[in-house]
């Protein structure tokens, strides 16, 4: 009898704690919406999302965040273009090609990269990469979309690499043997059997890596240049969504329209990362049909 009482107690204890964290999260979301929605008194959703001009402190102010949204999207895409091939190819190398000894040394280094604080990476982008880019490409400023993307790629590669590596490593040996036994080379086996069989894991890795990039604040604040304009080339400075919030929050008067606009940006960012996570779930579910059944 007593044991059951304790058991019940434990159950409700855990339920309470779980409820607490869910409620806290929920409250943050509610707060975000309460503080963000009032901006709609000043602009329509369409003007807000598709407006080209972001002059929150002018009179009358302009609250169009299209350039910020595009800044975020472009920076993330470009970092993806750099990070995905690098991360996946490193993973293939580590799981398939490298000798166990080499893999043993390289793997911890990659994981160490993942634990680099973002402010350090941002700082590195500012003082080392920016002057370098400036010189090599002969452009006036080194703090721009390219620099920020490079730094974000640097942050995404370890995530993409280590999760992909796990996925590739767990492809059953029997499949590899089947391929070799049919006269396939190692390269053909990697491209035609191993990568397709681990696609679910690789996609999850990519999305997790990039979702870190889209929400990342410090790096884009420090290295992206901060100009709220629609980028025309990869060497234009941009001002992604998180950077705007971080840079302007301190100077926006509490309860004013600028303040509400920043929260509304928060909502947009939230929608972005939320969609990213949904996509991750969907993709890993969809490809798993193939991947898992192969076991």
């Amino acid at each position: 009898m007593k044991r059951q009482v304790i058991d019940k107690g434990v159950h409700s204890g855990f339920l309470l704690i779980a409820l607490f964290s869910i409620t806290a999260l929920f409250l943050i979301v509610v707060f975000l919406f309460i503080e963000g929605i009032p901006i709609l008194d000043h602009v329509s959703i369409k003007e807000f999302v598709f407006g080209k001009y972001w002059y929150p402190t002018d009179d009358p102010a302009d609250f169009g965040i299209l350039s910020l949204i595009l800044g975020s999207i472009c920076v993330t895409l470009l970092s993806g273009i750099m990070a995905i091939p690098l991360g996946v190819m490193t993973a293939v190398y580590l799981a398939e090609i490298a000798s166990p000894k080499v893999a043993e040394i390289v793997k911890p280094i990659v994981e160490l990269m993942a634990s680099m604080p973002s402010v350090v990476i941002g700082f590195f982008g500012m003082v080392v990469v920016a002057p370098f880019i400036q010189q090599v490409f002969d452009i006036p400023v080194g703090l721009n979309m390219f620099n920020a993307s490079l730094m974000l790629a640097f942050m995404a590669v370890p995530t993409i690499c280590s999760i992909s590596e796990d996925a590739i490593f767990s492809v059953p040996v029997a499949l590899k043997e089947a391929s070799f036994a049919l006269g396939a080379t190692h390269f053909e086996t990697i491209v035609r059997v191993i990568i397709p069989a681990s696609l679910s894991g690789i996609c999850t890795a990519v999305i997790l890596g990039l979702s870190r990039a889209i929400g990342e604040t410090m790096v884009v604040l420090m290295a992206a240049g901060g100009a709220a304009m629609i980028p025309g080339s990869i060497f234009d400075p941009v001002r992604p969504l998180p950077a705007s919030i971080a840079a302007e929050m301190a100077e926006a008067p509490f309860g004013g329209e600028h303040y509400h606009a920043l929260f509304a940006i928060g909502i947009v960012l939230f929608v972005f990362t939320f969609m990213f996570n949904l996509l991750a779930d969907y993709v890993s579910y969809k490809f798993r049909q193939v991947g898992e059944a192969s076991l």
């Binding site: 166990p100 059953p172 029997a174 499949l175 590899k176 043997e177 089947a178 391929s179 070799f180 036994a181 049919l182 006269g183 396939a184 080379t185 053909e188 035609r192 059997v193 397709p196 069989a197 193939v290 991947g291 059944a293 192969s294």
Partner: protein, 253 residues
């Protein structure tokens, strides 16, 4: 009666690191005959089989000594192209291991990696191989469905068809029916008998009756050594050695 020796090994030694798994194994495999390899678990049958298409190369720290020949080629000669060798010497594994692709793609895989581009030709060979493996009727309406949806027995016949598609000269089979029910097993056995008119087959089996039913010759292994090899009828009725007799009659100690 023609008795061309298709493959043979002479004094073959094999080591996993320091552990010697095969000791001076010499067998001749006659062309278009079925040779069964029998022996207790762990005696080195799979290891030996995998020496014949150099599948053991995938394992780190292995060492091979002695001679293994396919026709007139030493298959461990450094100038041998392993990819070509594996196409000539196909393999079917103990557990069915279809790719997580469609039935069609499973069979076409070996053709494509060997450079065949002609779609019509590929389609023709896929159909021919599936028919050869006696599974065409069961899968002809689901060629584009995943091979993983097939039953275990169908998957194994698919794997046989896949191996046949690249037109090997020798087929190695490592307990191909051990994971299957009696009906599927019977189908595979019939298949082996039929294939043996055009193909040299080397099959590992734990099942004495199976060895007796399907093979022309049988080799008995024990602790990494070849104990006795002979015509299947002779080996099962008048084994030369007491050890062989004990094993095949189940009086093994």
């Amino acid at each position: 009666m023609q008795t061309h020796i298709k493959m043979h090994t002479k004094n073959l030694d094999f080591f996993y690191g320091d552990f010697q798994a095969l000791d001076q194994v010499s067998i001749d495999f006659i062309e278009n005959r079925v040779t069964a390899l029998i022996g207790p678990s762990g005696c080195g049958k799979s290891t030996y089989l995998r020496c014949l298409n150099r599948m053991n190369d995938l394992i780190a720290g292995i060492r091979v000594k002695g001679l293994a020949m396919l026709d007139n080629d030493d298959i461990y000669d450094p100038s041998i192209d392993v990819v070509t060798l594996r196409r000539q010497v196909g393999m079917v594994f103990q557990k069915p291991n279809p790719f997580p692709k469609s039935v069609f793609e499973n069979i076409a895989y070996g053709l494509k990696v060997n450079g065949m581009k002609d779609k019509a030709k590929i389609t023709r060979i896929v159909e021919k191989s599936l028919k050869q493996a006696a599974i065409w009727d069961e899968v002809k309406d689901r060629l584009n469905e995943s091979a993983l949806g097939l039953s275990g027995g169908q998957q194994q016949r698919l794997c046989i068809a896949r191996a046949l598609a690249v037109a090997p000269e020798v087929l190695l089979m490592d307990e191909p029916a051990s994971a299957l029910d009696p009906i599927a097993t019977q189908k595979i056995e019939e298949l082996i008998t039929e294939l043996s008119s055009k193909l040299t087959i080397i099959i590992v089996t734990h099942n004495m009756q199976q060895a007796a039913r399907i093979s022309d010759r049988t080799a008995f292994f024990y602790m990494g050594k070849l104990i006795e090899v002979n015509d299947t009828d002779t080996l099962f009725t008048k084994p030369e050695l007491k050890q062989t007799e004990d094993y095949i009659t189940g009086r093994f100690g």
